[in-house]
Amino acid sequence: MNFNLRVWRQKTGEGKGGLVDYKATDVSPHTSFLEMLDVVNERLAEKGEEPIAFESDCREGICGTCSLTIDGEAHGPDHPGAACQLYMRRFKDGATITVEPFRARAFGVVKDLVVDRGALDRIVQAGGFVSARSGSAPEANSILVPKHDADLAMEAAACIGCGACAAACPNASAMLFTSAKVSHLALLPQGRPERTERVLRMVAQMDAEGFGNCTNTYECEAVCPAEISASFIAKLNREYAMATLRKRAGE
């Protein structure tokens, strides 16, 4: 198969960028999208040109490193799945494919297709944890957790932290990401004692990082490789409202 690529090139975070045309020729349909880019990069390096910078690590959809917007869609057309799980057989021979970085106000471009998602880490640092000191835990089966709660918590906890939700959102909101962590921990008895403080701090941090508000467009859910449900955003809103009330009541 052959493809015309239009790839975002930007030397540094401060500099200006633009789309540059490349050809990917003789590509097997069984090649993954990232492997196709690998091959383009090999050719560029052979010619002495600078390869296209893009990040990946696990290449099986779990680490959340890859972060490409392909033909305008975060992670490309094959949902649910991360860009590293996309295969060329998904495209028409001869197609023109545009590749850009994840774009959101809170994600600065580092180089080409690489963005800085440190903001997501800082949201978790603002209380996205249970304060469990090593060695202080009670016997694991001493607190029963209904299977339904555990399963739902797992669904929320499955978030891979890729940031596609924010990249797809017209407001560049990180609500899906934040709601997944808030919900995961609020659904489990171990996470409840800190739930008030947690949701208030995490939301404040999200705002401070420059993520926008949620206006219920559901673009996030559509691109999420971990199939995080937008219903967790509703849960986040409830948690937040309750926490605000509790705070006001001086609890």
Binding site: H30, D57, G127
Partner: protein
């Protein structure tokens, strides 16, 4: 020069060694902890857990990872589960049994006391993770659920869907975030360690490169902990993440740390086969598939018919034929080797003949497609995504792939290497899995080391180090920094004609061929002849576009490949020296008449720990042996017939 290797295993009966140790270990007072700094390289299960726990204890911790976030460490990809001796299923499990299964699974090539301690703390790990909010699978009554895994007769594996590694890592990551928030841990993501700094023989710092800016930086500390994972990517293709590397441990080796059992690698039998020259990594298909899938190849060589057209009588269900009692559930090393044999014999399937069928037709006939879909639906989906084939309609094609490295830096009972102050935890050390690791025990080891062992053993070193931290302008730092800069410059300056990846691929193929699933003396000698030539070509002809002073992925990879090009040689030397078969190390010269691994306990019940012999002498490391003695188990030949 290093004298005899001291494992520093405490005296006393096996079951009370660790508690006795803890009762008498030196402590550091809270006031002094504030004065001590610890470098932790790695944020996977081992490094993340260690950094968080040491931070909680009040030390100043600097934690490093090469990914853009600590949450992306390779541990995230582990699927199956984590073992613990809770005996929740009331099926007769105990600490001793977990210990015994692990030591037997390792083919009696690991240190008894370390393995026992691992089994002992396994239960604390589950308590700890549940308290952090890890959403383990549960039964309807709200109790924790378990599943069984290879190499055990009890059900002791805890899991969170097929994403256990992810959930355990996020637990550790969140604890790490809590300490970052509390300012006891400083996190350095996108930062790669390029060298270890010794001051008066003690590990007192590291040299790093900021992968975004290209800046070389020096960090001093009172102790250094390496938790940098395994080196499976020496084979280029493996189930490891793309960035997994040997650089940190290999650099430490070149500074005098001994490398233990480098040749011990685990090949996982059920992975999706290689398809084409540009494949960048291999994907694991959970071993659980072998519960219902039947493995076969055509009986005739070169049979090109579609699988559905090959009648049962012309198929060879080779595992069922060779191992009637274990059948398709034969252990990892044995299943892997049998697949290789069938393909070497010209009976492999798929485009390039390197694959075998894993067939669910019988199971679907017996249980119905719905049941199979419930059990393995997500795996069938992954398979279809990657291959474009529907495994409900035609058999899967699978082939073994490199998965885990049991070898690593040598450590004593304190998890300290022979270099004072340098501690090594998780997959990066050699310690607990002998010559073969059982499923669900790497996660256990990483978290055991990080949460429950290192936090007790590290203080015994630190207690004597208060006030001894060198300043970063100490000449040792200057020298190491100069060397790192010179090496980068040298690499960039070559500007030849071959890409970094082309060298890595060539090295990987060679290693897979000569030092992979089966090894023999002449193949290993051949590899030892070819690696130096490839290395020389690398340093004369590699092309790295761009400079060292910017974000440069070619340069990142080149540094790792350069180290693999040296390390590969050490692996082959070790594989040649270990003139026996054990676990994942199969020397064709040493097999039973039935083709099973044949150990030689008299000569090789020992750890091989290699010492680097100075510059320009990559090929002549010095061997140290740590004899393994077994007080509580009897050495037996493994049999799965």
């Amino acid at each position: 020069m290093i004298g005899t290797l001291e494992s520093k295993v405490p005296s006393g009966p096996l079951a009370s060694k660790w508690s006795g140790y803890k009762d008498h270990a030196r402590l550091v007072s809270p006031a002094n902890r504030r004065k001590l700094e610890v470098i932790v390289v790695g944020s996977g299960l081992a490094g993340g857990a260690a950094a968080a726990t040491l931070g909680e204890q009040g030390y100043h911790v600097k934690c490093f990872c090469f990914q853009d976030s600590p949450r992306r460490a390779h541990s995230i990809a582990a699927q199956g589960g984590i073992n613990a001796a809770k005996n929740y299923q009331n099926d007769g499990d105990s600490v001793f049994r977990l210990f015994y299964d692990t030591i037997k699974g390792g083919d009696f090539r690991s240190r008894e006391a370390n393995v026992y301690r691992l089994a002992e703390v396994s239960n604390l790990i589950i308590d700890q993770c549940v308290e952090q909010g890890v959403p383990f699978a549960r039964e309807y009554g709200g109790l924790l659920a378990n599943r069984s895994f290879g190499g055990a007769q009890v059900s002791r594996t805890f899991y969170a869907r097929g994403q256990t590694g992810q959930q355990l890592l996020l637990g550790a990551y969140q604890s790490l975030c809590r300490q970052i928030d509390a300012k006891t841990v400083s996190m350095f993501p996108h930062t790669e360690m390029l060298d270890l700094v010794l001051v008066e023989g003690h590990a007192k710092g590291i040299i790093t490169r900021n992968l975004v800016s290209g800046k070389i930086e020096v960090h001093a500390a009172d102790a250094v902990v390496l938790a940098t994972g395994g080196y499976g990517n020496v084979f280029y293709l493996s189930t490891n993440a793309r960035g997994s590397n040997v650089t940190a441990t290999y650099r430490a080796y070149k500074k005098g740390a001994l490398f233990g059992n480098p040749c011990y690698t685990q090949i996982h039998p059920t992975c999706i086969p290689v398809s084409g020259q540009f494949q960048s990594k291999l994907t694991l298909m959970s071993e659980s598939l072998r519960n219902d899938g039947r493995v076969w190849v055509p009986a005739k060589k070169g049979d090109q018919r579609a699988p559905s057209e090959i009648p049962d009588t012309e198929r060879d269900y080779y595992l069922e034929r060779k191992y009637p009692s274990y059948g398709n559930l034969a252990p990892r090393d044995i299943s892997s080797r049998s697949a290789k044999e069938a393909c070497d014999d010209g009976r492999g399937v798929g485009p390039d003949g390197r694959g075998v069928f894993l067939d669910f037709a019988d199971a679907i006939g017996r249980l119905g497609e719905k049941t199979i879909r419930e059990r393995y639906g997500n795996l069938f989906d992954i398979y279809e995504k990657i291959t474009g084939e529907d495994a409900y309609k035609q058999p899967m094609r699978i082939y073994p792939a490199v998965h885990y490295t049991m070898g690593g830096l040598w450590v004593d009972y304190n998890l300290m290497s022979n270099v004072p102050g340098l501690h090594v935890i998780g997959e990066a050390n050699f310690s607990d899995h002998g010559a073969n690791r059982l499923g669900a025990s790497a996660l256990m080891q990483g978290l055991a080391d990080g949460y429950f062992v290192l936090p007790y053993t590290l203080p015994t070193y630190l207690a004597g180090q208060i006030g001894k931290r060198p300043a970063v302008d100490h000449p040792a730092f200057r020298q190491a920094e100069t060397e790192v800069r010179a090496r980068i410059q040298k690499m960039v300056n070559v500007y030849g004609t071959r890409t970094v990846d082309s060298f890595h691929r060539e090295l990987g193929l060679l290693m897979w061929d000569k030092c992979g699933m089966a090894r023999n003396a002449s193949g290993l000698r051949e590899a030892l002849g070819r690696i130096p030539a490839l290395r020389e070509e690398f340093w004369g002809n590699v092309r790295i576009p761009g400079t060292g002073e910017e974000y440069n992925q070619s340069l990142e990879r080149a540094g790792r490949v350069a180290d693999y090009l040296e390390f590969a040689e050490l692996m082959c030397i070790d594989a040649l020296e270990r003139d026996e078969s054990c676990g994942g190390h199969f020397r064709e010269e040493h097999q039973t008449p039935e083709g099973e691994a044949l150990r030689n306990d008299e000569k090789f019940a020992a750890v091989f720990a290699w010492e680097f012999q100075g510059n320009g002498a990559i090929e002549t490391p010095r061997l140290h042996r740590e004899a393994l003695s077994f007080e509580s188990v009897e050495l037996a030949q493994r049999s799965y017939k």
